[in-house]
């Protein structure tokens, strides 16, 4: 019976080469099913020893694993419908399906792995295969996104590799995962870097907005919903949670998390591409996860509550975020469809943590940990973050709303995004993808009522009210401005650290050329590439909220909103029940 655990990993691996053939593309739908079957049939502590595999490995369930496996398998299954129906049989989709299934196998393997080598194998397989998902169906912007992703992923994998080596040093060749040895400072740093890249923790995030906005909808859905959650699982597995208190590291985590949480929200607010808005929201959530981990490192006694809260939070975020990306994919086909728009708004509300949504429940469960230190500044910052998240989602809804007077869906597509060409003709709406998406909407909508008690439902009501009060006048003000009346827009965004790094990279290439003399065609190509980029960054299309996007305006707005919030919070000491 526990052989089913092996099937969970093996079935996607074996189906991967077969699914390359266009006629067998439906196999993609089957691949995630063994995971769901396994969850239904196997006992909660099923394990399978495989002493001959790798360096001697084992697969198995525990509490956390089951939740991660459930939402991961769900996200992949629903994305698979899109892969089969929407990507269809266009050129390059065979390769896409192959890599999709390989990444799936890696993702499931690392969740089930009971020892670090198996975990690492799944992690590496998943990370590399995802490169091909971002690249599909080609084009300059995607190649660039893919390159940045690949470089950072490799660095992340190597950091994790060294961290595991240093942990294994005292354990023999490998060890059983729940009994993790207490790591030293170097190991924690490496874990922070290795998983921080995967999660998109600032400042390790530059790949994330690029990749999320470049990848096709199903790929972005699994990247954000399933693959980036792996980082959290890794931290839960490998950090010494509940064993010892590490006050210095705890504080570092808290601050890193807090910076990521708040800065990403601010940067997200000035984005023009809804995918990028979602990307920055993911970065801010990564910050929240790290913040929570930091609080657990400070206070080990909270670990059982905290781990449960983090797992629940991950499940909520995975479903909602992948739903948003899949929904954006549907919206690109037909922006006017009210059902899609309504669904996206529901998901945006859930992500913002509005009352009666999964986001509110997640927040409610995490609250005991968040309030545990009792620092007033932390409460203030969290309050600010909640309001800013709501504003970010308002911004998202604004961006997906068809602009008046603009016929096509153009205004929301970012200035250097190549147009997402609809693969199916407009008349044939992908009905199965829509059905799968509605199923996901149902899951998200039912989430707080199945899992939470009534006392959790009104969480965040105060914050939402504040956000509404801020957003409404702003929206009105912008509506009344004529398009094109602002100062010229800065074309490069703060979030794109990569853009800033490119001149440095070019300079390095020149220096290397001088040093090594002969230089090969590969590097020539890269250089040509980099120079080509400059020409591709054209001027953005004009649209009504252009002035808001301009940096000076946005910066002042952000500052103003922050001050306003602080004032509000000081006047009404806390809207969060202690």
């Amino acid at each position: 019976m526990s052989g089913l655990l092996l099937a969970v990993v093996l079935v996607p691996l074996l189906l991967a080469p077969l699914a390359v053939h266009p006629a067998l593309r439906w196999l993609v739908l089957i691949a995630p099913l063994p995971a769901l079957v396994g969850l239904a049939l196997l006992p909660p502590d099923a394990t399978l020893e495989l002493p001959w595999l790798l360096l001697g490995t084992a697969l198995g369930f525990d509490e956390t694993t089951r939740v991660f496996l459930l939402f991961t398998a769900l996200v992949w299954s629903l994305a698979a419908v899109s892969v089969v129906e929407r990507l269809g049989t266009a050129p390059g989709t065979g390769r896409f399906r192959l890599l999709f299934l390989l990444a799936l196998a890696g993702n499931l393997w690392l969740i089930l792995a009971r020892e670090p080598v198996g975990f690492y194998v799944g992690f590496a397989l998943m990370g590399l295969a995802a490169y091909g998902l971002i690249l599909h169906p080609g084009g300059l912007m995607r190649r660039r996104a893919g390159r940045v992703y690949l470089a950072m992923t490799l660095i992340g994998e190597l950091s994790l590799f060294v961290a595991l080596l240093m942990m294994a040093r005292t354990q023999g060749v490998t060890w059983s995962l729940p009994e993790t040895p207490t790591p030293d400072g170097a190991v924690i740093t490496l874990l922070l870097i290795g998983f921080g890249i995967k999660a998109g923790l600032m400042p390790l995030h530059p790949w994330l907005p690029l990749a999320y906005s470049a990848a096709p909808a199903p790929a972005a859905a699994v990247l954000s919903g399933a693959m980036s959650k792996v980082a959290l699982l890794g931290w839960l597995r490998l950090l010494p949670l509940g064993q010892v208190a590490l006050p210095e590291w705890g504080m570092l985590f808290v601050w890193l998390g807090l910076v990521s949480l708040l800065v990403a929200l601010g940067v997200g607010l000035v984005q023009t591409d809804p995918r990028r808005v979602l990307a920055y929201s993911s970065i801010s959530k990564a910050g929240l996860f790290v913040l929570l981990l930091g609080l657990l490192l400070l206070e080990p006694a909270l670990t059982p509550v905290g781990v449960g809260a983090l797992t629940l939070y991950a499940a909520h975020h995975a479903l909602v975020k992948s739903g948003l990306f899949l929904g954006l994919g549907l919206r690109d086909l037909d922006p006017a469809r009210p059902l899609v728009r309504a669904g996206l708004i529901l998901l945006a509300l859930a992500l913002a943590g509005a009352p009666l949504t999964s986001g509110a429940l997640a927040k409610y469960v995490a609250k005991p940990v968040l309030l545990s230190p009792g620092w007033i500044w932390l409460d203030l910052a969290l309050m600010l973050a909640t309001v800013a998240t709501a504003l970010l989602m308002a911004r998202f809804v604004w961006l997906i709303w068809p602009a008046p007077g603009v016929v096509k869906s153009a205004p929301t597509v970012s200035d250097f995004q190549e147009p997402q060409t609809p693969i199916a003709p407009r008349s044939v709406f992908p009905i199965w993808s829509l059905a799968a998406w509605i199923l996901l909407l149902g899951l998200v909508a039912g989430f707080p009522f199945v899992l939470g008690e009534p006392s959790a439902w009104p969480t965040n009501a105060g914050a939402m009210l504040v956000a509404g009060l801020i957003a409404a006048p702003l929206a009105l003000a912008i509506r009344h401005r004529a398009p094109g009346s602002g100062r010229p827009v800065r074309q490069r965004r703060l979030g794109d650290l990569v853009v800033l790094a490119e001149p440095i990279l070019t300079a390095q290439l020149w220096a290397a050329r001088a040093l090594f003399g002969r230089w090969n065609a590969m590097v020539e190509a890269v250089r040509a590439h980099l120079y080509g980029l400059g020409e591709r960054v054209g001027s953005p299309p004009s649209d009504p909220e252009r002035t808001l996007r301009a940096w000076p305006t946005a910066g002042w707005l952000w500052l103003g909103v922050t001050l306003l919030l602080l004032l509000l919070v000081l006047i009404t000491p806390s809207t969060t029940p202690a």
Partner: protein
């Protein structure tokens, strides 16, 4: 009758005799030559299988020929020699099949296959050598048997490459010989002994031991392509693809690395070498070579040249493993002897396939090659990912053990070397994979003869890389299974460290 004493000799002769017979055959006797080749290769596999079983159960196999008092040729089998013998035997079979397909219409095939067999016999002799003098003898035979293979094409370039090869390896051979004789005058006949035998010698000799180590290392380092003695290897790239494959994976380069392992573990003894400070020297040399080779590989456009510099870098992992004290690092180095062999032979087979099928010799010509030759490119991908050390390909197992061994011994700089090397490997292999799989193919390939109607290339060219790529995955995926290279390397390490 007890056949045990004849087994090592039989293993050497199983390729040497067919080789001699092949010289006598006419150019046209294609069938007889192929039959002889395959007979030798298969017989050798059976004999080696027998020997593996015996050594695992503690049997002693020893063939001994006394030339004069104090000078004996000894062939004997211990766990370490069996590792190398098994590698050469399996890869010889695969390479022979490949070479038959590769050289189908070229001249001088009898000469080629004759020397090819002799080359493998010499390698097996090196593996089974029971003392330092026997080792030196076979080492020299290998040098001479390989020269005609490198020069095979007979073009000016080939002549030049072969001359450079001969100049380097003969000089190295002299140093090795001087070192071996000097050592023998000090301590008498040197049978390879697990745990080493110089540690017991009087302390007055230690100074001379250090000098001798440098002589031996210089002699072996030429073949193992340690920087700065690696100059011949990229030049020898001119040889036909099967020769390059054998040179890089099994015969010449590996013989040098194997020699270093023998000297460190079974002549000096790893603990004694550590006490003399010799391991540090070896480690620094190996680390330099690893980084230097990778950097040079980055700037090569010729596919085979890039692979050649990659060999320079990867073979030194073996020496790096030997330079760190402790059983885990030892396992990492030893297992790479096998892992590097299967992965690199795959890459060279693929490079040969691209050249023969499409006329593609350069990395810059490889756009879209994955669409035209998916199976070959798949094999290449496995090999390349393995070189970077990405699981579950075998290279990852090596890296895990080397890194773990270094961490256990507190030699953190080794981890740094591994990291830099991995990044550099990624930097010169991943662009190739990107070109092959994600770029559109050109309208016409440089040269495209019809080799097969159904398959992407001739079957005898296609199957060898696919099989070796599969072996590379299996060696990594089933690393903990019985009789895997890793388990065997663990057995050797246990015997070396006397546990």
């Amino acid at each position: 009758m007890n056949l045990d004493p004849y087994l090592p000799l039989a293993i050497v002769l199983s390729s040497a005799l067919p080789g001699v017979l092949i010289f006598l055959l006419g150019e046209d006797s294609y069938r007889l030559r192929t039959a002889l080749n395959m007979f030798g290769a298969l017989l050798k596999i059976v004999l080696v299988g027998w020997m593996i079983w015996g050594v695992f159960h503690g049997h002693v196999y020893e063939s001994r020929l006394t030339l004069m008092p104090g000078l004996e040729l000894v062939l004997s089998a211990d766990a370490l020699s069996v590792l190398f013998v098994a590698l050469s035997t399996v890869l010889w079979l695969v390479t022979t099949i490949y070479a038959i397909g590769y050289l189908e219409h070229s001249p001088n095939r009898s000469r080629f296959f004759g020397f090819f067999s002799l080359c493998v016999s010499a390698t097996v002799g090196i593996a089974l050598a029971g003392n330092l003098m026997t080792f030196v003898v076979f080492y020299e035979i290998l040098t001479l048997a390989t020269y005609p293979l490198v020069a095979h094409r007979g073009t000016p370039d080939a002549d030049h490459g072969a001359k450079v090869y001969l100049a380097y390896t003969m000089s190295g051979g002299v140093l090795l010989f001087v070192g071996a004789v000097w050592l023998q005058t000090l301590v008498g006949q040197l049978a390879f002994t697990q745990g080493g035998l110089l540690g017991a010698a009087p302390e007055a000799l230690h100074g001379q031991f250090i000098v001798i180590f440098f002589l031996l290392l210089a002699g072996l380092g030429v073949k193992a392509a340690l920087v700065p003695l690696h100059g011949w290897l990229p030049q020898a790239m001119i040889a036909p693809a099967p020769v390059s494959a054998l040179l890089h994976a099994v015969a010449v380069v590996k013989a040098g690395a194997f020699g270093i392992v023998r000297v460190v573990y079974d002549v000096y003894g790893v603990e004694f070498a550590h006490d003399l400070g010799l391991l540090t020297v070896l480690g620094v040399l190996a680390a330099t070579t690893i980084i230097y080779g990778s950097i040079k590989a980055l700037s090569q456009d010729g596919l085979k040249k890039r692979l050649a510099y990659s060999t320079v870098s990867q073979v030194s992992y073996i020496a790096l493993g030997a330079s760190v004290l402790g059983p885990i690092a030892t396992i990492g180095g030893l297992v790479h002897l096998v892992h590097q062999g299967i992965m690199k032979i795959t890459l060279f087979f693929c490079a040969g396939n691209y050249a023969e099928t499409l006329g593609v010799h350069r990395v810059s010509e490889m756009n879209g090659v994955g669409r035209r030759m998916p199976w070959t490119t798949l094999a290449f991908t496995v090999g390349a990912l393995g070189m970077i050390g990405i699981p579950p390909v075998a290279g990852f197992v090596t890296k895990w053990y080397l890194g773990l061994g270094a961490a256990s011994a507190g030699a953190y700089w080794v981890i740094g070397v591994l990291l830099v090397s991995s990044l550099l490997n990624a930097a010169y292999f991943l662009p190739i994979l990107y070109r092959a799989w994600f770029r559109p193919p050109p309208e016409h390939w440089p040269k495209e003869p019809v080799l097969s109607k159904r398959l992407e290339t001739a079957p005898s060219l296609l199957w060898p890389p696919v099989v070796t790529a599969l072996l590379a995955v299996i060696a990594g995926l089933l690393a903990a299974a019985p009789f895997s290279p890793l388990e065997w390397a663990t057995l050797i390490a246990e015997r070396e460290y006397g546990r």
